[in-house]
């Protein structure tokens, strides 16, 4: 029996998968060998998330250490590279406590759902030409739908822990998550309009000019929204350790804590992959027919570095600032992006409804101007309205005033 893949099949682009498919097709029916080739992709994807999480943890700790004038983990292996393995082993052999009065089913299910959503997000990301686990017609919506399930898992974790702080952390985290979901969903409309399709493979092919240039506003909103949804500084009020101990995963220990961490850091990797695909033209690049996956990896690395850099640079925002940022800053920006893009597309498209590369460059210029105007404009709207005068102390302190106030004497 000979199985031959059609030219436009999603497995056709990658020699490895085509080879697996054809080899299996020698002995098995075609549909079965198709699924075997699918298993190869799944194996790659699951490992991409779990190993990616490990690599990301190490990179982040080293880089944040570097950025904060520290060394970071440096004991185990070259440059402390085996630190994640040591962490994993430690977490596996640690006692795994379930607190009194906890809701056991939800308590165990929550970390599983978190890891599952982090893995599932990668299913529609094309990692080379014509290669993805599934090239859904509604790929963008798939990504959004899978992300939205995380909030339920967080609420489950917080509620089932039987701990007030965990519940508050979860509620805050979910409030932040849902607030940022609205601008994120809005800004992706611009991407979908220009690509003319919701499939991520089409989004990549539509990027003759990367969308980071064509729609800088959408990119900005999406990156800000994603880092909020990943509960990363500066938006990590959910686990603000100085206020809420550790947020929704206070009561988690042992391997369950490990899973939550893996989901969080693996989530950064998958989110970077999604951003790289949507805005940095994914696998496209020179010689992308052969090394498309390498381009995607490089772009994921760049985005992940951006996340680490943001984390190392900005202090945590207060919850009211976070909410204002989402509803009063990112919302209008994504509205403007949507209107600007739809108007530009309407006037630039030709009679058959296609956009040329020149059109994309024209849009780039217009949108960069819009970007440069809108960010300062709307930024001034949400800036804390505190006059510098109010920050000044009312009276100039004399030396030793504090000591005198405290009841001491200055000699």
């Amino acid at each position: 029996m000979n199985c031959v893949l059609a030219e436009d099949n999603i497995l056709h682009g990658t020699p490895l998968l085509r080879w697996v498919y054809e080899l299996a097709g020698l002995f098995l029916p075609c549909w079965l060998s198709y699924f075997i080739a699918g298993f190869v992709i799944m194996f790659i994807l699951v490992n991409a998330v779990l190993l990616g999480a490990a690599v990301f943890v190490w990179t982040e700790r080293r880089l944040v250490g570097r950025l904060q004038n520290r060394v970071g983990p440096n004991r185990w292996g070259p440059f402390g590279m085996f630190q994640p393995i040591a962490d994993l082993l430690k977490l596996i052999v640690k006692e795994d406590l379930i607190p009194q009065g906890a809701d056991k089913i939800a308590f165990v299910a929550a970390p599983i759902i978190m890891v599952a959503t982090a893995i599932l997000m990668l299913a529609v990301v094309p990692f080379a030409k014509n290669t993805a686990l599934a090239d859904l017609n509604v790929g963008v919506l798939y990504v959004l739908a899978v992300t939205s399930l995380t909030s339920v898992a967080i609420l489950m974790a917080g509620w089932s822990s039987n701990n007030r702080y965990a519940l508050f952390g979860a509620a805050r985290g979910v409030a932040v998550l849902i607030s940022y979901e609205v601008p994120v969903v809005l800004c992706l409309l611009g991407v979908v309009i220009v690509a003319g399709s919701m499939s991520l493979a089409d989004v990549v092919t539509a990027q003759a000019v990367p969308f980071i240039l064509v729609q800088p506003l959408a990119m900005f909103v999406f990156v800000a929204g994603t880092s909020a949804e990943l509960n990363r500084t500066p938006f990590d009020v959910a686990e603000a350790e100085s206020e809420l101990i550790a947020g929704y995963h206070i009561e988690y220990s042992g391997i369950k804590f490990g899973l939550i961490q893996a989901a969080e850091f693996g989530g950064v990797v998958t989110a970077s992959a999604v951003i790289a695909t949507l805005f940095l033209s994914g696998w496209a690049g020179p010689a992308s027919n052969y090394i498309g996956w390498l381009w995607l990896l490089i772009k994921i690395g760049v985005v992940a570095f951006l996340f680490i850099w943001i984390r190392a640079t900005f202090p945590r925002l207060r919850i009211d600032q976070i909410m204002a940022f989402a509803w009063k800053f990112l919302m209008p920006l994504s509205f403007i992006n949507l209107m600007a893009v739809s108007l530009e597309v309407y006037f630039l498209r030709d009679s058959s409804g296609a956009l040329t590369t020149t059109d994309l460059w024209i849009m780039t210029v217009i949108n960069l101007v819009v970007f440069a105007v809108c960010i300062p404009l709307f930024g001034s709207l949400i800036r804390d309205k505190v006059r510098p005068a109010q920050l000044q102390p009312t009276a100039r302190a004399t030396p030793g005033a504090t000591v005198q106030q405290a009841g001491g004497e200055v000699t």
């Binding site: 198709y34 699924f35 298993f39 994807l45 699951v46 596996i92 052999v93 640690k94 006692e95 795994d96 406590l97 607190p99 009194q100 009065g101 599983i112 890891v115 599952a116 599932l120 299913a123 599934a134 090239d135 859904l136 919506l141 509620w159 039987n162 701990n163 007030r164 702080y165 965990a166 508050f168 509620a171 409030a175 849902i178 607030s179 979901e181 609205v182 969903v185 809005l186 409309l189 611009g190 979908v192 309009i193 003319g196 919701m198 101990i245 206070i250 009561e251 042992g254 391997i255 369950k256 899973l259 919850i319 009211d320 909410m323 509803w327 009063k328 209107m339 739809s342 309407y346 409804g353």
Partner: protein, 127 residues
């Protein structure tokens, strides 16, 4: 066409199963480790207490809950539903006539009214 549809969602369904099995098996491995004594399991009432700054926890988990959260959730649902309506429009906008553009602007205009109303009434503040 239909075959592709089944293949793709078949693969997604299998992938969902795998994505659930992988973390579950990690939990199982840890549980097995506790069976053969690699991992300690020695829960005591003190250990199982919920953590609250090291003191004994007073009261239940519930506490006072800010009404804000609910308001944000309602706002989120309304906006989410409205924006999702626009997705089929966006995906096919390259081929749609002027009428569709105007219609979208009316739709987004209503959305903006809702947004402005919520802002005006102070429901976007966290207070």
């Amino acid at each position: 066409m239909l075959e592709d549809y089944f293949r793709q969602y078949g693969l997604i369904a299998i992938f969902i199963a795998i994505a659930v099995i992988v973390p579950t098996s990690m939990l199982t491995i840890s549980w097995l480790a506790s069976r053969i004594g690699i991992r300690p399991t020695n829960p005591t009432p003190v250990k199982q207490e919920t953590y609250e700054c090291g003191m004994e926890a007073i009261g239940g988990r519930w506490g006072q809950f800010n009404f804000r959260y609910y308001m944000y959730a309602v706002l989120f649902v309304v906006f989410d539903v409205e924006v999702i309506f626009l997705y089929p429009w966006a995906a096919k906008f390259l081929g749609l006539p002027l009428f569709a553009l105007i219609e979208m602007f009316v739709f987004v205009g209503i959305l903006l009214v809702a947004w402005a109303y919520a802002w005006r009434k102070g429901d976007l503040e966290w207070a």
